[in-house]
């Protein structure tokens, strides 16, 4: 048996074994009961059929690479002053919510900081980056602060700018961003005190300080584009957007194709594996296989408790194992696709193919974010209306909206499920299309290019089924 077939057989057996844990599905915290016309698993079959049909359509109707250079058209201009204004707003918001975290009520639901970080910033900005382009770059508070310092340095010592003393090591690539995102995912999904406002505020200040040091050592733009976890994260989603903002000009392009210009740098595969793996674990960690009596979490927790570890620490260690495990599953799935690609066409090595096709995981990552967090944004995002009026939780009513509440009827459970399925299908079809286009540019013959994508198709179907299974097991 060849390596890819062994891997595929192992994957199939592993998935079957993994799915075969008994226990009824648990209810998701936010989504209500759905009333669907067909069973949920049938949606996974339908999604797979859509992907296979898309693959066949691409193989027959898309004979040459079209989007290796994204076609862009300038549609407008914006004043240069907008950049520092947005930066000032970003700094002001950062100072305000951090202050609220330190000085305000320490109950998570009464203080604006946890909702701001986990809902508005982490989820809302991901959606906004896809819809409107790289917004975070303009509002990034630490980038704005660093640029202000650089500008002041130029004023005080004319002719001299704040030059970076060190050159960024090429081997470092996007590894700092991957580790930063893994750290944030751990904070959000594993750390026991994840919603204590003061803890979050001090962590935010520490992160900002770290970014300022990094930018002063390696340069503002270079550090932001490679090492700042959030800049890199939101920038990746903005590459899927139909809008690009640069140098006072606004460009329009077809959605999803901006990502083809993603620079091939070390750590990018790890970054995407962390992005998809952490979102998957977010769903998996509230699903029937992970939680519940006798399930994976309690078994791992018992294992660590039996080693003499305190219950709280054992819980965090179990979560850490789960998070890292899910990241490795995602990295492994992609690896299978790459090895399969290598085995079926051309004389390209696995490392080269892995780098050349990694951009195809970006729309999948966005699809996972939309599928997993749409309900959170739709429901919990409304909390910002009363939290903005009373950010410290001390009873104030700044905007007169402190008494507003969350309307859980704003979107139905069925609508959420359809958005989740639609996002997963669209994201994977986009990934498949990008992979097909890149294959046409990589291989000399069309047949070779199409054959090389057989295993990527299997990987895409695997990602879709995994995503839908995780979502269904949480509802």
């Amino acid at each position: 048996m060849s390596t890819p077939r062994r891997l595929a057989a192992g994957l199939s057996a592993g998935m079957l074994g993994w799915l075969a844990f008994p226990e009824a599905a648990l209810a998701h915290g936010l989504v209500g009961k759905t009333d669907l016309p067909i069973p949920r698993w049938l949606f996974a079959w339908a999604a797979a059929i859509v992907l296979v049909a898309s693959f066949v359509a691409l193989a027959t109707l898309w004979p040459r690479a079209r989007y290796q250079t994204p076609p862009e058209r300038q549609i407008g201009r914006y004043p240069r002053l907008l950049d520092p204004i947005c930066g000032a707003i970003g700094v002001a918001l950062f100072v305000a919510v951090t202050y609220a975290g330190i000085a305000g009520h320490q109950e998570a639901t009464a203080n604006i900081l946890p909702t701001w970080i986990y809902v508005i910033f982490w989820v809302g900005l991901a959606f906004a980056s896809f819809l409107f382009g790289d917004i975070f770059r303009a509002f990034n508070p630490w980038r704005a602060a660093a640029r202000l310092v650089a500008w002041l340095t130029g004023l005080v010592r004319p002719g001299r700018t704040a030059a970076e003393p060190l050159s960024y090591p090429s081997w470092l690539g996007r590894w700092p961003a991957a580790l930063g995102l893994l750290g944030f995912a751990w904070l959000e999904l594993v750390y026991v005190n994840k919603d204590v406002p003061q803890t979050l505020a001090f962590l935010a200040l520490g992160y900002a300080a770290l970014q300022l040091i990094g930018m002063s050592l390696y340069g503002i733009e270079l550090w932001s584009s490679r090492a700042d976890a959030f800049s890199v994260y939101f920038n990746l989603f903005s590459r899927l957007s139909w809008l690009r903002w640069a140098d006072g000009r606004i460009y329009r392009r077809p959605p999803f194709v901006g990502v083809v210009t993603l620079e091939i740098l070390p750590g990018t595969v790890a970054l995407l594996a962390v992005m998809i793996g952490s979102t998957s674990f977010d769903g998996f960690s509230v699903g029937s296989v992970w939680v519940g009596s006798g399930q994976l979490f309690s078994r791992l927790q018992d294992f660590f408790t039996n080693l003499g570890v305190a219950v709280e620490t054992a819980s965090e260690l179990a979560g850490t194992v789960g998070l890292l495990g899910m990241v490795l599953v995602i990295a492994g799935l992609y690896r299978i696709g790459v090895i399969g690609m290598r085995s079926l066409g051309g004389d390209h090595d696995a490392r080269e193919l892995s780098a050349r096709f990694i951009h195809t995981l970006v729309p999948i990552s966005l699809a996972y974010v939309v599928a997993h967090y749409f309900s959170l944004l739709a429901y919990q995002g409304q909390a910002i209306s009363y939290l903005a009026s009373d950010p410290l939780g001390d009873g104030s009513n700044i905007f007169g909206t402190a008494s507003s509440s969350i309307d859980y009827n704003v979107v139905s459970a069925n609508a959420i499920w359809y958005v989740q399925v639609g996002a997963l299908i669209l994201g994977h079809v986009a990934g498949l299309t990008l992979a097909h286009d890149r294959a046409l540019a990589t291989y000399t013959r069309i047949r070779e290019a199409t054959r090389s994508q057989y295993w990527m198709l299997a990987v895409m179907v695997g990602f879709t089924s995994l995503g839908l299974w995780i979502l269904s097991s949480t509802q």
């Binding site: 077939r5 998935m15 226990e23 698993w41 299997a458």
Partner: protein, 46 residues
């Protein structure tokens, strides 16, 4: 976890396996396709 309880609660979890069916079908189809191509290649060499 023993074999017996898994079977006993089959009705609670069998539908979870159904999510893996598309993956198994596609991997199976691809493996079959690869095997046929390799066999054809071997025959051509002979």
């Amino acid at each position: 976890m023993t074999f017996q309880p898994i079977i006993a609660h089959f009705g609670h979890w069998y539908f979870q396996i159904l999510y893996a069916v598309p993956v198994v079908v596609i991997v199976g189809a691809l493996s079959l396709q690869s095997w046929r191509e390799n066999r054809a290649q071997r025959r051509r060499r002979e």
